[in-house]
């Protein structure tokens, strides 16, 4: 059974590795407001579960699943999304 990690283990979505899951906590202040709104329109709401499906090599954008939609995000965005990883 999965349990949520403690708040002090907050990390960014970019740090998630392939096969790992997390819940979105929010966005940091460095991300422009318009981008935050757009990310929420894509489904990246606080509280939403996100999985990292693919983590291609050489720093390429990673592939995330939110609900039934799959997005590729690069670190310029994913590094500003704060998440709480699920631990086994």
């Amino acid at each position: 059974m999965e349990t949520k990690a403690t708040p002090d283990s907050l990390q960014t979505l970019w740090s998630l590795r392939r096969g790992e899951h997390c819940a979105i906590v929010g966005y940091d202040d460095l991300l422009a407001e318009a981008y935050k709104v757009r990310m929420m329109e894509f489904g990246f709401y606080p509280g939403e579960a996100v999985s990292c499906l693919q983590s291609p090599g050489f720093g390429a954008p990673k592939v995330y699943r939110v609900n039934n939609t799959i997005y590729s995000l690069d670190d310029e965005i994913a590094d500003h999304i704060l998440v709480e990883p699920f631990t086994a």
Binding site: R38, E41, L53, A60, P61, N68, T69, S72, L73, D74
Partner: protein, 612 residues
């Protein structure tokens, strides 16, 4: 005549639906943001109705200037009394992606008193995977009719015009305004809850997609697949188009041979042979490349692979201010800048699309090849080493190709770091569409339309410039001697400009005529040196240049000049049309001329110091 608006988020199948409903061939692609223009066509089943296809957008709260234009166009259209209905397309397989936007559309329609119908597309995909959405509950929750449809199979499409007719006759219960004053924040929450409650359960679609992504995005297998597919793309432009290009050239030559001798007046005869047929040939010859490239890119987009290719090359290109979506346009530019510029439509960020436009003309296109071949044969020794494996001429050809690509990246890298705030950008968030089998018919129609667009729009500009250059080269001595023509005079006037590169008026004239197409440089020099058919057999021309007083330093300077200068009227014409700006090609032409001149001057000086 009334209008019905078609709107939806990117990748919801809206463009394919538009084609099915109108019989027209709007661009259809399995790639987000493919619709750039507002297209319209007669709605089949209701011939008094124009269906208007709006650009796909994720939200009515725009964040880029281009999105703002699209949203403003939509809101303006809602005020039009001739607009009788709005159709909002959603992807039924991914309800949470579309519902917020749908609620925004419903709210705007309520505010303007326009009826709206939601079209739940890709219902066939859900059925094929034993999935479903609760349509009745969705209808009840949003007080709006929701029709299950499949743009691909045609299922449910007949009901769309029936629904519009029924709304006209008030035979359907009017939707109850309930969102008029609801702010976006509440709409977002409502959309999220509805998607969670009514959306398809199960992740069979995602699992299939992820298995294929495991292969195509893997560091090893993904890399091999990427290079293999891009090799095929490159071959398609270079090799597969060649027979059709040759056929166009020989057909035009055959028609010209049949018609020209019948013309008595010598000026009209020369005009028909050299201006009319050459002018038409100058742009018709690009049509096969545009057709083939558009078709192959369409295949990649529709299959879903293009989004993966974009992801793979995003990181290295980002360093130079570009995006992964710039890769295919730039690769296409190695064959020819024109299809490359068309391919740049897929770059959704306006800033990065502009930078992609800037990069493409620097890619070493095939028209540069005859110029490089001539200059390298004339000035680089044919010596080989390592047992004949490597030769100086081969190295020079590789070097000048690499120089063009490197210059493109350096220019975009520098530009992207200068006055960044002036550009309009979007973050890199790429929706990865499911893998699908592409439909060939819409792809062929789209390729045909793109080629037609080129002939009708850019062809006019190319033709006019060709005529101007012909007049300058023909008069006042009626084509007897290019050197004594107005063009020759112009060459002598600009001689001081090229003298610092060690070039005389003959090369000035050849540079002027190469503005029509770079390879014309070779033919013009052949004419000036009195050599027939220099394009086919360069050897006599190479010998003439070698025996003239042109130094190696000047030859190298010319090579560098042609690697950078934007000497192509066709490219400039397409840039003006695609960039929707008459100043953009002029600025790029001027900037690249200055850069080309400065770089070739530097090369000439260094080479002269080395006594080359």
């Amino acid at each position: 005549m009334t209008r019905v608006l078609l709107i939806g988020s990117p990748n919801s199948g809206k463009s394919l639906l538009f084609n099915r409903l109108t019989g027209l061939s709007q661009k259809v692609a399995n790639f987000p943001g493919i619709t750039v223009d507002v297209a319209s066509g007669k709605l089949q089943g209701l011939r008094d109705v124009d269906l208007v296809d709006f650009p796909g957008t994720y939200s009515l709260k725009a964040i880029s200037a281009e999105e703002k234009v699209a949203v403003a166009q939509f809101e303006k259209a809602l005020e039009d009394v001739e607009v009788e209905h709005v159709l909002c397309v959603i992807d039924a397989t991914r309800l949470e992606k579309s519902l917020f936007f749908t609620l925004q559309v419903i709210r705007e329609c309520e505010r303007h008193g326009k009826p709206v119908t939601v079209l739940a597309n890709m219902i066939d995909v859900l059925e094929a995977n034993d999935l479903s959405i609760d349509l009745l509950a969705l209808e009840a929750a949003i007080y709006t009719r929701v029709l299950p449809i499949s743009a691909r199979s045609g299922k449910g499409l007949a009901e769309i015009s029936e629904q519009i007719s029924a709304t006209r006759l008030k035979e359907t219960p009017l939707q109850r305004p309930h969102l008029t004053d609801t702010p976006d924040e509440l709409l977002r929450g409502t959309a999220h809850q509805l998607a969670q409650r009514l959306g398809p359960r199960g992740d069979v679609l995602v699992r299939t997609q992820n298995r294929l992504d495991g292969f195509f995005l893997h560091s090893l297998t993904g890399g091999v697949a990427f290079f293999g597919i891009m090799y095929l793309l490159f071959q398609s432009i270079f090799t597969w188009s060649t027979p059709a290009m040759d056929a166009i050239e020989s057909s035009l030559a055959w028609i010209a041979d049949a018609i020209v001798p019948l013309i008595g007046n010598s000026i009209i005869r020369d005009f028909t042979a050299d201006a009319l047929f050459s002018g038409i040939g100058a742009f018709l010859v690009f049509v096969p490349q545009i057709f083939v490239l558009t078709f192959v890119i369409g295949l990649l987009e529709d299959s879903g692979y293009m989004a993966r290719a974009t992801l793979i090359c995003h990181k290295p290109l980002r360093f130079f201010g570009l995006t992964g979506k710039s890769f295919v346009p730039m690769l296409s530019g190695v064959a020819c800048a024109i299809p490359g510029i068309y391919a740049a439509r897929a770059v959704d960020s306006p800033r990065k699309r502009l930078l992609t436009y800037v990069a493409i003309p620097l890619m070493p296109c095939s028209a540069r090849l005859p110029v490089y071949a001539l200059l390298i044969a004339a000035f680089i020794p044919a010596d080989t080493f390592l047992g004949g494996l490597i030769g100086w001429q081969g190295l020079a050809m590789f070097g000048i190709y690499f120089f063009g690509m490197l210059t493109a990246l350096i220019v975009t890298g520098l530009l992207s770091r200068v006055r960044k705030e002036q550009f309009d950008d979007l973050p890199f968030v790429l929706e990865l569409p499911p893998y699908r089998l592409p439909g060939v018919k819409p792809l062929l129609r789209n390729a045909f339309n793109r080629a037609k667009h080129f002939v009708l729009k850019a062809g006019k500009i190319i033709f006019v410039v060709t005529l101007v250059v012909w007049v300058l080269g023909y008069f006042p001595n009626y084509g007897a001697d290019l050197g004594q023509s107005w063009l020759g005079t112009l060459g002598r006037i600009i001689e001081p400009l090229f003298a610092p590169l060690g070039l005389d008026w003959r090369y000035g004239v050849a540079i002027l005529t190469s503005f029509l197409a770079r390879e014309v440089f070779v033919g013009t020099l052949g004419t000036i040196f009195g050599i027939e058919g220099a394009e086919e057999n360069m050897v006599p021309l190479v010998e003439q240049i070698q025996s003239s007083d042109l130094t190696v330093a000047s030859g190298l300077a010319l090579l560098v000049f042609f690697a950078i200068a934007l000497q192509c009227v066709s490219t400039l014409a397409v840039l003006a049309k695609e960039g929707r700006s008459s100043s953009l090609p002029l600025k790029m032409f001027a900037a690249y001329f200055v850069l080309a001149y400065a770089a070739s001057f530097a090369v000439y000086q260094v080479a002269s110091l080395l006594s080359l």
